[in-house]
């Protein structure tokens, strides 16, 4: 796999939270291809929070909303508290997501790999 140096996620540490292994490994693969370092993936809220606690540096995150029936919002809140930019990758329509996350980009599954990189890079650049 080639690494594209021009991407805005080069050497960024990106947390992946997604309960389906196939989707998670696809997301991770896409991120790694673009030079990011994947933290996780985590399949549950608890795992994601544990991973976050152990990581001093997180640059971005991509979150599935429904984790085997649990909602991911506690992870989202922890990311907001740490000012880590993130995006939702979900099969849900926007109205399901609470208004407090109105500013968070929502990517519809199946996620376009290009859009994933573009969206996260834009969020990271906005904080820089």
């Amino acid at each position: 796999m080639t690494t594209r140096k021009s991407d805005g996620l080069q050497e960024r540490r990106v947390l992946v939270v997604e309960d389906d292994y196939l989707i998670a490994s696809s997301l991770a693969g896409t991120l790694e291809t673009h030079g990011a370092e994947v933290i996780g993936p985590a399949a549950s809220v608890q795992e994601a929070l544990q991973l976050m606690a152990g990581e001093a540096r997180l640059d971005a995150a991509v979150l599935d909303v429904n984790l085997a029936g649990d909602r991911v919002y506690r992870v989202a809140d922890a990311l907001l508290a740490r000012d880590v930019p993130f995006a939702f990758a979900t099969g849900y329509d926007a109205w399901i997501i609470p208004d407090v996350y109105a500013g968070v980009p929502r990517m519809e599954k199946p996620v376009d790999p290009e859009a994933l990189i573009r969206t996260l890079a834009a969020e990271v650049a906005r904080r820089a």
Binding site: D19, D20, Y21, L22, I23, A24, S25, S26, G29, P41, A43, V65, N66, A68, G69, T90, G91, Y92, D93, W95, I96, E108, K109, P110, V111
Partner: protein
């Protein structure tokens, strides 16, 4: 001009007589006639001729009772009327009357005694035809009665109101439903039965109603029977004749169940979308990963299609999984049966284990793993070699707070590649050793033994699920 008072009085007396006659004759809309004390007609004006149909000649000397309908005559109404007139100085006559031609009219009039000193000389009667008026009133009363009946018999809570929400009437259902008495409901008292959080919207809707020409709001209304609030749809419209400034009539309809269903439907729709898109994401991932492990485009096509078919088979089982009724045996047999078309597996396969209800979340991943095991068994293992045997068994192992479904996939009699041959750990290995562990917290083990593949998969299930079909 007359010169003296006497002359004037006399002249006036004459004039008055003429005048009276003139008035009586020209009052064509009024039947005016006189009778003697016994009710025998002594005069009969043009209005009476016109209204009743008898000429003066026909009626003079005859009982005026002829204009009463037979049933009133039989019940003595004419005599009663005369007695009343004598006793009270007048008697009101509001009733159906009879014309010469047998038709009836609603007459409204008065009977007055004519006296000379203390002596009763007869009666004067004046009657007007009020048939139209009476019928209109009657229709209105009937219509009103029908409305009230309707308002009382439909399940909706009906009310009459002014165009600003100021209520003037509420159906008994409203009072029964809310427990508010009618007096307490009038004006804006009805608002007490509306949920506190919905009152503002309820009042605001009345503010825009006159402009909109109708009132519409969905709000919760108190149900006295069980002390709960139920969603109602309340609408009102002005009565056509009275315009927005006049009387409005409205209904409140219980839409609690429908609203609940709509909400559930929305949730179900959202879940369906979520699942569909998630499934597409899985397909996308499978395509991506199949491409990575395929030697050629032809290989890709075969493998990708086989995996899609496995995915498709399991979609058919998922609705049953919601009710916890997908048995592990169903899943195993479905995957083996899918091979049946091009492989003779009869006599090679033994399947056995208790009835086990699988958790919904485990089914898809497990099915994909079983698919890879079965496909590989056909390509390289027990199902592709004459002496090969496959045994698939499972049991439920209970631990303190949860159970495990332990599946054992055991191939035997397989001629394995010589030791030292580099073994491609393919997609099946990834699913078993990584996906099941990641997604289901499963314990898995995949061994390539001398006589065939052995795979064990332990899936955690809630303690009360284990063994239940």
């Amino acid at each position: 001009m007359r010169g003296t008072g006497d002359e004037a009085d006399e002249g006036w007396a004459i004039d008055r007589g003429e005048l009276l006659e003139l008035v009586v004759e020209s009052a064509a809309d009024f039947a005016i006639f006189t009778t003697d004390p016994d009710g025998i007609v002594t005069s009969w004006n043009t209005g009476a001729e016109r209204l009743v149909g008898y000429t003066e000649e026909e009626m003079l000397g005859r009982p005026a009772d002829a204009i009463f309908v037979p049933e009133d005559r039989a019940s003595g109404a004419p005599e009663q009327e005369r007695r009343m007139a004598v006793a009270e100085g007048r008697a009101i006559d509001e009733r159906w009357h009879l014309r010469r031609d047998g038709t009836r009219f609603w007459g409204s009039g008065l009977l007055m005694p004519l006296r000379e000193g203390d002596t009763l000389r007869g009666f004067a009667k004046i009657v007007r035809d009020r048939t139209e008026h009476h019928l209109v009133g009657e229709r209105l009363r009937e219509s009103e009665a029908r409305f009230r009946l309707l308002a009382r018999s439909i399940p909706q809570l009906v009310f009459a109101t002014r165009g600003n929400g100021d209520r003037t009437w509420g159906s008994p259902q409203w009072c029964d439903f809310t427990g508010l008495s009618e007096p307490d409901s009038l004006g804006y008292g009805w608002l007490d039965a509306v949920h506190q959080d919905d009152r503002e919207a309820t009042v605001e809707a009345w503010q825009v109603a006159p402009t909109a020409g109708e009132y519409y709001v969905e709000h919760r209304v108190f149900r006295a029977a069980d002390g709960t609030y139920r969603w109602h749809q309340t609408r009102a419209k002005p009565l056509v004749d009275s315009g927005v400034g006049g009387e409005w009539v409205g209904t409140s309809t219980d839409i609690h169940e429908i609203r609940g269903l709509q909400e559930r439907q929305q949730v179900l729709l959202a879940e369906l979308q979520h699942r569909t898109r998630n499934l597409l994401a899985v397909v996308q991932a499978i395509a991506h990963q199949t491409r990575r492990t395929s030697g050629s485009l032809d290989d890709f096509e075969v493998e990708f299609e086989n995996r899609l078919r496995a995915l498709s088979r399991v979609q058919g089982l998922l609705p049953h999984a919601e009710r916890g009724v997908v048995d592990l045996r169903t899943l195993v047999e479905a995957e083996l049966a899918a091979l049946g078309g091009n492989t003779d597996i009869a006599g090679k396969v033994t399947v056995g284990g208790p009835t086990v209800g699988l958790p919904a979340g485990a089914i898809q991943a497990l099915a994909l793993a079983l698919h890879e095991l079965a496909t590989n068994a056909v390509k390289y293992g027990a199902l592709g070699q004459p002496s090969g045997k496959l045994t698939v068994t499972w049991r439920v192992a209970a631990e303190s707070d949860q159970s495990w479904v332990e599946l054992d996939w055991r191939e035997a009699g397989v001629r394995m590649p010589p030791a030292g041959t580099p073994r491609r750990r393919g997609y099946g290995s990834e699913l078993i050793e990584r996906a099941l562990r990641y997604q289901l917290r499963a314990r898995t083990r995949l061994d390539f033994r001398n006589d065939g593949v052995r795979c064990s998969i332990s899936i955690p299930v809630p303690a009360n699920e284990g063994g239940r079909p």
